[in-house]
Amino acid sequence: MTEKIKPVEQLSYEKAFAELEDIVNQLEGEQPPLEESLKLYERGQALTRRCADLLENAELKLQQLADRELDDADTDQDG
């Protein structure tokens, strides 16, 4: 996890959960130094909270394509 760390609030469920899995795997594998472990642990807890929040508060989002989005002049050649 050397890439930029995003605040958990900006992560989608899939991203947050994937990172959580990754962190657990890291901790279970070759144990990182203590300070690093502590950071990972705290991050993991935050990710878990984020995931639970998302599951609890999710509302299905619905978007309907308009006609102009359905039609595409370039690819709609054969009618």
């Binding site: 959960f17 394509l65 039609d71 690819t75």
Partner: protein
């Protein structure tokens, strides 16, 4: 065999009606096409006499055909068969010699159109199959946790609401992008194709559901349309079909990456269940905590070990060691001091006893006496006293003043 040679051998001459009719019958009944024929027309003059056989006429605008269903086949005939229905009959042509009528001996009958549609279905299926459109190797995996689901269906159908309810229930994290399309009638195929393509032009759709609620065979027919089937097969995004009911299979189902029996089932196939996700999340949290705990313990143990080693080599350790010696010495000195004190106490007691024994009063009580002169000096020897001298004899309980009569020296042994 045919009685053609009969005619060849004899020049044309009058035949009996029976001979001719029999000849016609043989010609017709030996014909390979007429032995196994499908014919469509409108049912009329339907009659079901008590014999159990069924008679009717199939007709269209230009012709009529007598039809017979023997009782042995009648059981397989739809009960609702009635005049005016457009039916497709399957059977063989024969001749009823008595009335000189050719007629269709019907083996089975079904609503017209169905059979033709089915033939078309089989033909197209074979063709597309040969092209490899249904190849299992081409099936794309369905993503486990989709972010956005494309839905191709009619906006005003119950199927859409069913799917949305199911998605909200199972996996409300998902976003639905609805690409509306008619799912019935002639307009349906091009609209479905357009919707599938529109979703494919986006780069954010993880899976597409192509769905329609239950209906008649004709209602569902657009999902057997070659254009629709090809569009599904060509979709770069995985497609799940949910068309009709359990028992309905369309060519779209074969081309899809996954076939679900109903629209609701398609929504289920496309999404994980939020309850399972909770459980998985719980498991991850447990692993996180457990692992971190054990990491902490490992580090604590390591620290303890190093600290122990440090202590052993540190001045503190020496100081503690000295402290211990000091404590030991202190204890020993205390013990020694106590010993000395005890000893002195014992000595002083014995001295006191001895002192007691030396008390003159005690000696006097044992019967001894102290003799003194007038000046108070003690008489220790007879030479200090002459006959006639006054002496004072001190006893334990009083004093005697006495006069000396004689003094004799003790005889030395």
């Amino acid at each position: 065999m045919l009685q053609a040679d009969l005619f060849a051998a004899h020049p044309p001459s009058a035949l009996t009606v029976t001979d001719l009719t029999r000849y016609i019958r043989e010609v017709l009944e030996e014909d390979p096409v007429l032995m196994n024929v499908r014919v469509t027309g409108e049912v009329s003059n339907l009659s079901r006499p008590r014999s159990g056989h069924i008679y009717f006429t199939l007709k269209d605008a230009g012709a009529a055909l007598r039809c017979v269903i023997w009782r042995s086949n009648a059981a397989r005939i739809p009960h609702d068969l009635q005049d005016g229905m457009a039916m497709e009959a399957h059977g063989s042509i024969g001749v009823y010699e008595v009335s000189g009528q050719y007629q269709l001996y019907v083996r089975s009958v079904q609503p017209a159109g169905e059979g033709r549609l089915y033939q078309e279905f089989l033909r197209l299926k074979a063709k597309l199959e040969a092209e490899g459109l249904f190849d299992p190797q081409l099936k794309q995996p369905i993503p486990e946790q989709p972010h956005k689901i494309g839905v191709v269906t009619s906006t005003n159908a119950a199927a859409l609401q069913d799917m949305l309810n199911t998605l909200q229930n199972r996996y409300p994290l998902v976003e639905v992008v609805l690409a509306p399309a008619s799912v019935q009638g002639a307009a349906a195929p091009p609209e479905i194709v357009r919707a599938i393509r529109a979703l494919n032009r986006r780069d954010d759709i993880d899976v597409i559901l192509v769905a329609r609620g239950g209906g008649s065979l004709e209602d569902l027919w657009c999902f057997n349309d070659e254009r629709v089937v090809r569009a599904i097969a060509a979709s770069a995004i995985p497609v799940i079909t949910g068309v009709g009911h359990e028992t309905d299979f369309t060519l779209s189902d074969f081309a899809a990456d996954l076939r679900a029996p109903t629209p609701t089932a398609a929504a289920v196939e496309a999404t994980p269940d939020v309850r399972d996700l909770y459980e998985i999340l719980q498991g991850s949290l447990y692993r996180l905590q457990y692992t971190f705990q054990s990491i902490l313990e490992t580090h604590t143990d390591r620290l303890q070990t190093v600290y122990n080693r440090l202590e052993r080599v540190s001045p503190i350790y020496q100081i503690h060691s000295d402290q211990q010696r000091l404590d030991e010495l202190e204890q020993r000195s205390t013990r020694a001091l106590r010993h000395i004190l005890n000893l002195q106490r014992t000595q002083s007691q014995s001295l006191s006893q001895r002192l007691g024994a030396l008390n003159p009063q005690a000696v006097l009580q044992r019967g001894y006496a102290i003799v003194s002169l007038d000046d108070g000096s003690l008489v220790r020897s007879i030479q200090q006293v002459q006959a006639g001298d006054t002496v004072h004899i001190q006893l334990s309980d009083g004093k005697i003043d006495a006069r000396t009569l004689e003094n004799k020296r003790n005889v030395q042994v």
